[in-house]
Amino acid sequence: MSYIAKPSAHHPALPRNALGLTRRDYEGSMSTLCAGCGHDSITAAIIEACYEMDLPAHRIAKISGIGCSSKAPTYFLSRSHGFNSVHGRMPSVTTGANMANRDLVYIGVSGDGDTASIGLGQFCHAVRRKLNMTYIVMNNGCYGLTKGQFSATNDKNSPSKKGEANPFDAIDLCQMAIQLGAGFVARSFSGDKRQLLPLIQAAISYKGFAFIDVISPCVTFNNHPASTKSYEYVRMHNMASENKLDYVEPKEEITTDYDEGTSTSVELHDGSHLMLFKVGEGHDPRDSDAAIHTIRTNAAKGTIVTGLLYVNENQQDLHDVLGTDERPLNGIAMSELCPGSKALEAINARLR
C-alpha cells in the first residue's frame, strides 16, 4: 500500500474509448495490498478490459467474498455496483443479483481460500447452474491475510516460505470447473497481461459461466523460488496451451492474415471472437476430455498449462434453462410482479 493517493493528473495524450472515458476513469481506490501483489496486476487487467470494451461502469456489478483477493474490487471500477459478501458466499450473492437483473455484467472476484475451501460448495453449484458471470480466482496458494498458511490450491510438496513442504494434494479448480459443466474455462498468470487481458475480455463477452483461474503470486508469503506459485517458477514452467491470444471485438473485422491450421477462432455470444494461435502441441479447446488430459499430463511434469483450456460455444445460461422473463425485475411493473391477494387465494384454493 502507499500513503499518498494516486495523483489525479494523467498523461495529456491518454486515449479515450467510445464512451469518451480514459483508462483512469475505470480505476478504483488505492490498493492496500502488498507492493508487487499479483492481485493488483489482475485489477489492472480488469480495468483495461472494461476500458477497451467500452463498458459503461454503471452496468457492471463486482462481487467478492473475503480475503486479499476479495478486497480487490475496491481497487477497480469505483463507479460500478459492488458487494463485498461473506467468506465463500460470492456465488450465492451473484446468483441472487443475476436472477433479479440479468442485464448487468457480473464480475465475481474470489481467492483460492474463498473458492477452494470455505466456498467450494457454492462454487460447484454456481458452475452447474451455468450462471452468466465472469468468475475470477486470484490464486496465490496461501492465506496472505493470516500470515501465509497453505491453501487448498497449493501444490503438494510446494514449500512454505520457511521451507516446510505441503503434505496435501492440491485442488485444481480448472479441472473441477470443466467437470461440473462450465462453458468457458481458462487459466492465466498475473505476470502475463498479454494473455490475461484477452481472456478477461472474452470471459466478459461469453454468455454463461466463464471461469478464469489466475495464478497470482503472494510476494510476501509465497514468492520464494521453490514455490510453484512464485513469479520465477510460473515463468519457468508456464506452458501456454495456445501461446498467443487475440480478442477481436464484435464491431472489428478480422483483418490479419492467420496461417491456415495454426489458428482457431472461437465465436462468442456477442459476435466477438477469441483468436487462438497454436504453438507446439495444443489441444482442441472445444474438447473437454482433451482439456482435462492436457492439464493432468502437464501437471504431472510440473508444468502449468495456461490460456483458454475449454470452451462450449453453445452453452445455455441459467436464465435460458429456467425460462425466466427477458426483462430484469426492475423493468417489470409491480402489478405483474405481484398479482395480488386474489390471485394468491385462487392458487391456494386449487391446492386445497
Binding site: S2, K6, P15, G36, L245, I254
Partner: protein, 630 residues
C-alpha cells in the same frame, strides 16, 4: 493485444541500447528547469529550501549559480519556466483560457519563488567567500559594468585577482540599470547585488569609457574581458525621419535618459514601434511620464512577438493597445514638427520554412496621430573602440570572432561575454558567459589549457526514509499556478519608481512550492532486481512505465502504452529482464511521485536525488553547492 499488433510483432525488431545513467547529463536533462537554465541553477533544491523556510540558504544556492537572485527573481527571461515539466501536466479537464488544448497546464512560478528567497533572506554576509588580502599578482581589466563583467569579477575576486572595472556610466549595472525601468527592478535591489561584488575589492572606475583597446592592451593587464553589451539601438530610415528628429527617440537611449533623470516628460500621444521587451518597457515608461495615449505597433502578428508573455500582459493591463501587423511607412511632419506616423497593414499568407509567418503588404494605409515616437526595433553590439590593426579577427557582420567554448577572441588574453560576444541575449546568459570566461581567464593567467574545461559535480542519493516515506514532498498537488499580487494601477501609473509586482508573500509561496514536481528526485531502475510483476506500470498515474520487447528507438516510442511523441524528452531503457523484455520509461510527464518505487516489492525502483553543479573558477563561491552535492 489487437490483431494489428500481432502482425507488427512478427516483423524483425531493432534494439535500443540500455540508457547510460552514469553519464550525469542523462539525469540532468530530466531536470527540465535546471537543464534549460544557462547557469544550471538547481531549481528544485532551492524550491525545497523555500518550502522549509530556509530563505537564506535558498538565496545562496541561487547566488552561487546565477549571482543576481534578487534581480533575476524580477526580470529574468526565465527559460526555466517554458521548460518546466509542470507545464505539460494537465490539471483536471477544464481548458486553459488562452489555449484550450493546454488544459490548465502551467509551469511552476520559478522566477517569483527566486524573488521570495531574495525578499525573505536574512543576513548572508557570513556566507560570502573570503577575499584574500594577499593577491595572486594577476591583473584583469573588465570593460563594461553589466552582468557579464560583474559575474567575472565575482568568480575571480576570491582567487586573489586584482580587478579593474571600467564603466562609462556614473553607476554600475549596465543595461540592468539603464534599460530596465525601476518599476520593474528597483534601484535598491540592483545596488545591493551589484554592490556586494564591488565590495569584494573591485577597483571600479565610473565615467571611464574605454575608447581604444590598443591603449588598454598597452597597460599590462594579464587578461581583458569585454562585457560592453549591445548598446546600439537600431534606427528606421523612413521619410520624415530627419525633419521630425526632435520627437523620434531610440528606445534604449531614451530609457537610459529616463533612468538618469535627464528626461522627465514626453508628448501627449506616443507611438512605440517594436514588439520586444524594450518596446514594453518604453510604452509603460511613457505612460508614467504623463502620456495620455500610448500605442504599440508591431510589424508581425501578436503570437510571434518577441516580448515575454508576462510583459505583454502587464502592458495590456495598463491599457496600452498593441496593434500587430502594422509596418511603419513614414513619419508625418507638419510645420517642421512630428504629427503622426503612417503604417501599412500586413496580412499573413502562410508560414516560411522555419515556421515563422510570411507577411505581405495589404496596401491598406493607417495613420496614427502622435507627438513622439519611440523606436524599439532591436539593438546590436558595436566596437568602434577596437582598432582594426591590432590583430583581432572580425566576422562578416563586423563582430569579433569569439570562441564559443573558451570565450577568447583572436587576441590571446582578450575575452568576450554577454551581449558583446554574440549579440543580444539576456541577463542570465550574460552571467553564464561570465562564469565560463572566468574559468578561461584563470586558466589563461596560469598557463593551463583553456580547452580542458573543469567537469561538473554530481551525486545521486536515495531519498527513502521508510516503506512509504521519502525525504521530499512526493505527493502531487493539483493546485493551479499562483498569481502574483500587483500594486494598484492608479498608484503605479503615477509613480515611475513604484514597483508594480509585489512578489509572493510567504503564504502564497508556501502554496506555489508544492506545485514543484521535484524532477531532480530521479526514478532509478536496477534491472537485475526486477521480477516483472507490473506493479509500477499499473500504478504510474501518467503511464510512463512500460515493459515491452526491445526495438529501435523510433519504433519503441510508438509502441508504448501512450506513445512517447515528445522527442525532446528522453526514453529511459533498461537492459534485458528475465523474460527478455525491457523496461522503457518515457521521462516526458513523470510526476516523480515515487509510487513506482513504493509499489516495487524488490527495490528495483528507487527515488534518488540527483544533485548537479557546474564548475566555476573559484570553488570558494560554491560552498552551498558543495553542501548540496553532499
Amino acid at each position: 493485444m489487437q490483431a494489428s499488433e500481432i502482425a507488427a510483432r512478427s516483423r524483425r525488431r531493432g534494439r535500443t541500447p540500455p540508457t547510460d545513467i552514469s553519464d550525469p547529463q542523462y539525469f540532468h536533462k530530466v531536470v527540465d528547469c535546471q537543464w534549460a537554465c544557462p547557469t544550471h541553477t538547481p531549481v528544485p533544491e532551492y524550491i525545497r529550501l523555500i518550502a522549509q523556510g530556509r530563505y537564506s540558504a535558498a538565496y545562496m544556492l541561487n547566488w552561487e549559480s546565477n549571482v543576481f537572485p534578487g534581480i533575476l527573481g524580477r526580470v529574468c527571461d526565465r527559460p526555466c519556466e517554458p521548460a518546466c515539466r509542470r507545464g505539460r501536466i494537465q490539471v483536471g479537464d477544464e481548458g486553459n483560457a488562452k489555449d484550450p488544448s493546454k488544459k490548465n497546464a502551467e509551469p511552476v512560478a520559478i522566477c517569483r519563488l527566486k524573488r521570495v528567497a531574495a525578499d525573505y533572506k536574512g543576513e548572508i554576509d557570513s556566507f560570502l567567500p573570503e577575499i584574500p588580502t594577499q593577491k595572486n599578482g594577476k591583473r584583469v581589466a573588465l570593460i563594461g559594468g553589466g552582468p557579464a563583467s560583474l559575474a567575472v569579477a565575482r568568480d575571480l575576486m576570491p582567487l586573489g585577482y586584482d580587478i579593474t572595472l571600467f564603466e562609462r556610466d556614473p553607476v554600475p549595472g549596465g543595461l540592468m540599470r539603464t534599460n530596465i525601468p525601476s518599476f520593474r527592478l528597483p534601484a535598491s535591489v540592483l545596488d545591493e547585488e551589484v554592490g556586494r561584488i564591488l565590495d569584494f575589492g573591485v577597483e571600479a572606475r565610473f565615467g571611464a569609457e574605454i575608447r581604444s583597446l590598443k591603449k588598454l592592451l598597452g597597460e599590462g593587464y594579464d587578461a581583458i574581458f569585454v562585457g560592453t553589451g549591445a548598446p546600439k539601438g537600431k534606427d528606421l530610415e523612413l521619410p520624415g525621419r530627419k525633419e521630425a528628429a526632435a520627437n523620434i527617440h531610440i528606445g534604449i537611449d531614451w530609457l537610459t535618459s529616463v533612468a538618469f533623470g535627464h528626461v522627465e516628460k514626453i508628448g501627449r500621444r506616443v507611438v512605440v514601434i517594436g514588439g520586444g521587451n524594450t518596446a514594453m518597457d518604453c510604452c509603460r515608461t511613457a505612460l508614467r511620464l504623463g502620456a495620455e495615449s500610448v500605442t504599440v505597433t508591431v510589424r508581425s502578428p501578436r503570437k510571434v512577438m518577441k516580448a515575454s508573455d508576462w510583459e505583454i500582459k502587464d502592458a495590456l493591463h495598463e491599457g496600452i493597445p498593441i496593434l500587430d501587423n502594422h509596418a511603419p511607412k513614414s513619419f508625418v511632419v507638419k510645420d517642421g514638427k512630428l504629427v503622426g506616423m503612417t503604417f501599412e497593414k500586413m496580412v499573413q499568407t502562410g508560414v516560411d520554412a522555419k515556421g515563422r509567418p510570411k507577411l505581405e503588404a495589404s496596401g491598406e494605409i493607417v495613420t496614427i496621430d502622435c507627438d513622439d515616437v519611440l523606436m524599439a526595433i532591436g539593438q546590436e553590439n558595436a566596437f568602434p573602440w577596437i582598432e582594426r590593426d591590432i590583430g583581432m579577427t572580425f566576422n562578416e557582420w563586423g563582430q569579433p570572432a569569439v570562441d564559443r567554448r573558451t570565450f577568447m577572441s583572436s587576441i590571446p588574453g582578450v575575452f568576450f561575454g554577454g551581449d558583446a560576444a554574440w549579440g543580444p541575449e539576456n541577463i542570465i546568459w550574460a552571467v553564464s558567459h561570465g562564469h565560463q570566461a572566468a574559468i578561461s581567464i584563470d586558466a589563461y593567467c596560469h598557463g593551463r589549457s583553456l580547452v580542458d574545461r573543469p567537469k561538473p559535480g554530481h551525486t545521486l542519493v536515495s531519498q527513502k526514509m521508510g516503506i512509504h516515506e521519502w525525504s521530499y514532498s512526493n505527493n502531487y498537488d493539483p493546485q493551479k499556478r499562483q498569481a502574483v499580487p500587483h500594486a494598484t494601477l492608479e498608484a503605479s501609473l503615477k509613480n515611475l519608481k513604484l514597483e508594480v509586482e509585489l512578489g509572493f508573500d510567504d503564504r502564497i509561496a508556501a502554496r506555489e512550492v508544492e506545485r514543484c514536481l521535484n524532477c531532480d528526485v530521479q526514478t532509478v531502475f536496477t534491472d537485475n532486481l526486477c521480477i516483472e510483476c507490473d506493479a509500477c506500470m499499473d500504478i504510474c498515474p501518467v503511464d510512463c512505465i512500460n515493459f515491452t520487447e526491445n526495438d529501435d528507438e523510433a519504433d519503441l516510442r510508438q509502441e508504448l502504452r501512450v506513445p512517447a511523441l515528445n522527442m525532446s524528452q528522453s526514453l529511459y531503457v533498461s537492459g534485458p529482464l528475465k523474460t527478455g523484455r525491457i523496461m522503457a520509461k518515457d521521462e516526458d510527464v513523470c510526476l516523480h511521485c515515487g509510487l513506482c518505487a513504493e509499489r516495487c516489492p524488490t527495490g528495483a525502483w528507487d527515488m534518488q536525488k540527483f544533485a548537479y553543479a557546474e564548475a566555476q573558477a573559484a570553488s570558494a563561491c560554491l560552498s552551498h553547492h558543495n553542501a548540496y552535492l553532499g
